[in-house]
């Protein structure tokens, strides 16, 4: 039942997105037509995309609504980190002496699933001063390049991001009973 | 306000024109790295950056010519630029894109 429901939900979302982009006629002056030819093209396009991305978007595994609700404050924190990252790079680029001290660090995380590792790699790339180089899915090991030794400290020593993601995806050591 | 000191009556199209000129200046500055970059990956990275800036420039041009519905074309070009960067990076990393059929 889980697989069929995820197919149908993905198809509905893709079809609504197609209607939004091509056939929406809310006001009289929006460019879009709502007749049979366009709707059948929309159904074909949505069906093909649904087949190609079957289990990526709506993975109705255990307790996905809890993960979705916990992800929203995490995304808000993430957007604030993007602004901080850009201010930091602007400071380093415009300073006349250019203080840089690049270093490569490695660390391990308790995350194992695909989606959690992808979130973590993207978040590391958007945080001030770090870019992910390599990820090892079996042991959750990350190899990270940092632009300054002091900026690698919140990742390796404090581990703020690992704790936040383990809370969102429920894969930490404390509540992996899902 | 600061804007009223520059011209007696400043329109929003002047802001669009200023933004377009600033983006073109930053594209020309990045071209320096395309020409000079010692490794190939320098040039690939600068091309990806220029691709993103061109997307923004196309949206600005669409607004300057009073046809903002032009935004479909930058959306397509953003996807093409992304896929192109991924393909070149994969080729440099592995030496081939897929195993040859023997």
């Amino acid at each position: 039942m889980g697989k069929k429901l995820s197919y149908i939900l993905t198809f509905i979302v893709m079809f609504l997105f197609w209607i939004l982009l091509s056939a929406w006629q809310l006001y009289p002056d929006t460019p879009g037509k709502f007749d049979v030819i366009h709707i059948s093209q929309g159904i074909a396009a949505a069906a093909l995309t649904t087949y190609l991305s079957r289990r990526v978007i709506f993975d109705l595994s255990k307790k996905w609504y809890v993960k979705f609700l916990r992800a929203i404050p995490y995304v808000a924190w993430e957007l604030w980190q993007i602004v901080l990252a850009n201010l930091d790079v602007a400071y380093r680029a415009l300073h006349p002496k250019m203080p840089l001290d690049p270093v490569v660090v490695e660390f391990e995380t308790p995350l194992r699933s695909d989606l959690a590792l992808t979130f973590m790699a993207n978040s590391i790339t958007l945080t001030p001063g770090t870019i992910t180089i390599m990820v090892e899915p079996e042991k959750g090991k990350f190899v990270v390049h940092a632009i300054d030794r002091k900026l690698a400290k919140p990742l390796v020593v404090d581990q703020t991001m690992q704790k936040k993601l383990a809370y969102v995806f429920m894969e930490g050591q404390h509540d992996s009973s899902a | 306000m600061l804007f009223s000191m520059l011209k007696p009556h400043m329109e929003i199209t002047d802001v669009f024109l200023a933004v377009g000129i600033l983006i073109t200046i930053s594209i020309l500055m990045t071209m320096y790295r395309v020409i000079k970059g010692p490794t190939t990956l320098d040039r690939v990275m600068a091309t990806s950056v220029i691709g993103t800036k061109v997307v923004v420039l196309l949206v600005v041009i669409g607004y300057l010519f009073e046809r903002p519905i032009f935004v479909d074309i930058p959306l397509t070009y953003a996807m093409l630029n992304f896929v192109g960067t991924l393909i070149v990076a994969k080729y440099i990393e592995r030496g081939e894109l897929w195993k040859p059929y023997t």
Partner: protein
Amino acid sequence: MEALHIISAIFMFAGCFFMITGAIGIIRFPDFYTRLHAAGKCDTLGEVLIILGFMIYQGLSFLTIKLFFLSFFILLANPVGTHALIKAAYVTGVKMWRREENG
């Protein structure tokens, strides 16, 4: 110019500032990995801010949602491209610049 236009102009000029700073960083930094830091991060936020300025100028209409999807796509796609490039550089063996001890 009304208040909405002034807010939109502030966002656009902030985005332009980040883009120009990113271009200065790409020229000045000494090494491929550090240049990729400047390119991947400044580019993404500058672009999102400029398109956010356009969304505020347009108001609530059919075009705003298309612009939102454009900026959302770039926000997700640029870090993936950055990670692919830095992995290719690390595996191929591009030299890394370290700060010397007498600097």
